[in-house]
């Protein structure tokens, strides 16, 4: 849980935090690797939705350097397998995510991130 796919589509949503609010920065993480079904069609379909640089940087931060810095033109099998692993098989079970802009901390426990905001943070 908290896979990098999820991490790549969540941004800080605190009141007035609209710029530089992505990607959230992982801290004090506990990782688990769990196998997932490989579906190249799903990956190809999801690719246009990804913020590539954020994905690569986050993967590197979590110790996975298998992705190229630039999104390749040719989607060969090896690339798709690496992408699959990074997006779907790395799970952040504990730790937190911090907004690069407002520094709001979203804690993660038992794999579930708490994205709730406090009263004063709601726009």
């Amino acid at each position: 849980m908290v896979r990098l796919l999820t991490h790549n589509i969540l941004a800080c949503h605190a009141k007035d935090c609209n710029t530089n609010n992505f990607p959230l920065e992982f801290k004090d993480v506990q990782l688990e690797i769990r196998e997932a079904e490989f579906n190249p069609e799903f990956l190809k379909g999801f690719l246009p939705k990804l913020e590539w640089k954020a994905l690569v940087d986050t993967a590197i931060q979590l110790g996975d350097t298998s992705l190229p810095l630039e999104q390749p033109e040719m989607l060969d099998d090896e690339f798709l397998k690496n992408l699959h692993h990074v997006l779907l098989e790395i799970h952040v079970e504990e730790g937190s995510m911090t907004c690069p802009n407002c520094k709001h901390v979203y804690p993660i426990s038992n794999g579930i991130p708490n994205m709730l905001l406090a009263e004063h943070e709601i726009g």
């Binding site: 849980m1 999820t6 589509i9 969540l10 794999g111 991130p113 905001l117 406090a118 009263e119």
Partner: protein
């Protein structure tokens, strides 16, 4: 050349039958045509004859439609046996290949009625002209021929055992292709057999019907914004989809053990890796970075939900009507997260009653439609339940909550007598990108009930609210 197939349906959830057929056909790219006469399409009747391009399509329907009990190659029907035989003789090219050397079994049966053995024998003999030479096999015949008499529904009347025998409405005849195997899933997903469930869990059969409305299949990404104990996730992931769930109350998804309850239940079904993630947040203050993410949104919204309002929106709570309260009982509300004073952050594992104003059902629905238009890919579907008091159906008028580019494609009533709920399927028909909704409750001037024209104003405000100039004018 299309051929005709006889579908035997479960006589339950009538209103869901044709939408399910449409959805499953769309999922597999099956073209079909329904009988031209309305009475032959009547979903309260057990049989329907449809045209399909391919026998394999009939089998696909039998494997995926929850409401299909069996599919048959159709040989004929009639309001009398004479009519039936006449039709069956015309179908000879379809059954002649079984004459020579095929073991068979012949069944004469009916709905809501017991046919005396002696007449069953007579009926079988009346088919002698087919001249089948193969062995009669009761256990494992090569083919099963079935003759099905449909009697009028006699619910609540008492009669002698064989009374009215032979005065059926219609008799159908065909060869069994395949029993409907999706119906077994109702038992598989039985809530009581699930390792994790709660009082908001959705009954198995309905959650399966919802899953079919989403066109769930491998490679699709679905979202339930009111995830609760995850009832929508199990059948959809079973059909191969990936599901994301969120809820304002983390405890609903977590339960009491370390491994979240939703994950434990999905593990039981062998689909845990398809539950992409769970997250705790209020859907009206959501962290989605962009739109057009999901193939379907499937959800059972709370009958009243909290907008954790900013100070300016606190204020008068609007009382629910008695009817709405009754609905809330049925859909018993779950507790909310707690604010921990030290961090001023909401913990997601403690009970908490938020300083909220109940959000009217119709507004919730309108918001959900706007959110879905933002989050769905073009062509994606929003599938959700709308509790409604039957006589006051207009009050939650489905058309009043639509917005441009979102079209109702199915609307099925589950009738509980004094109240009911509607399973609504809305398709995103626009390819244009739309902004996320503002989730601002309508500005009500006094304590009066908000009625239909007010809903319209509300929607106007949403549309205007997207223009920055107007937004600045708000206090």
């Amino acid at each position: 050349m299309p051929s005709r197939y006889l579908l035997h349906f479960a006589q339950a959830h009538d209103d869901f039958r044709l939408p399910e057929l449409q959805s499953v056909a769309e999922l597999y790219g099956i073209t079909y045509s329904l009988p031209p006469r309305e009475e032959d399409r009547d979903p309260t009747r057990p049989f329907m004859v449809i045209d399909l391009e391919d026998e394999e399509h009939a089998r696909l329907l039998a494997r995926r439609c929850i409401l299909i009990k069996a599919v048959y190659e159709f040989y004929g029907q009639g309001s009398t046996y004479d009519e039936l035989h006449e039709a069956n003789r015309k179908s000879e090219p379809l059954w002649t290949r079984y004459v020579e050397d095929t073991s068979f079994r012949f069944l004469v049966t009916s709905s809501q009625h017991k046919i005396p053995q002696s007449r069953q024998r007579d009926v079988i003999e009346s088919f002698a002209y087919m001249g089948f030479l193969g062995k009669i096999e009761m256990k494992n015949p090569d083919i099963l021929l079935i003759c099905f008499e449909e009697y009028e529904d006699r619910k609540g009347t008492t009669r002698a055992k064989y009374e009215g025998d032979g005065s059926f409405r219609q008799v159908f005849f065909g060869r069994l292709l395949e029993e409907g195997s999706a119906r077994q899933l109702i038992g598989k997903f039985d809530v009581k057999k699930r390792v994790y469930y709660g009082n908001t869990s959705m009954e198995s059969e309905i959650s399966l019907l919802m899953a079919n409305q989403t066109l769930a299949s491998p490679g699709k990404l679905l979202y339930d914004p009111f995830m609760g104990t995850g009832s929508m996730a199990y059948p959809t992931t079973h059909f191969g989809a990936l599901v994301f769930g969120s809820d304002i109350d983390g405890r609903q998804m977590r339960g009491k053990q370390k491994t979240p309850g939703v994950i434990r239940a999905a593990t039981q079904y062998g689909t845990a890796s398809r539950v992409i993630d769970l997250a705790t947040f209020d859907v009206t203050h959501n962290p989605w970075r962009c739109g057009e993410l999901f193939d379907a949104i499937v959800t059972d919204p709370p009958c009243k939900y909290g907008v954790r309002a900013g100070a300016k929106r606190l204020g008068r709570k609007k009382e629910l009507t008695d009817h709405q309260k009754e609905l809330c009982l049925q859909h018993s509300l779950s507790p909310r997260p707690q604010k921990t004073p030290l961090t001023l952050r909401y913990r997601d594992d403690q009970p908490y009653i938020p300083p909220t104003k109940p959000y009217e059902l119709s507004h919730l629905a309108a918001d959900l439609v706007l959110l879905a238009r933002y989050l769905l890919k073009p062509g994606g579907r929003l599938v959700f339940f709308l509790p409604t008091v039957t006589e006051e159906y207009e009050d939650v008028d489905i058309y009043a909550m639509l917005c441009e580019g979102m079209d109702v494609i199915a609307n099925s009533l589950q009738d509980f007598g004094s109240w009911g709920r509607r399973l609504v399927t809305i398709k995103k028909t626009t390819a244009e990108q739309h902004p996320p909704p503002s989730f601002k409750p309508p500005q009500v001037e006094d304590d009066q009930e908000v009625h239909v024209p007010a809903h319209k104003d509300f929607r106007e405000k949403y549309f205007q609210g997207f223009k920055p100039k107007l937004e600045e004018e708000e206090p």
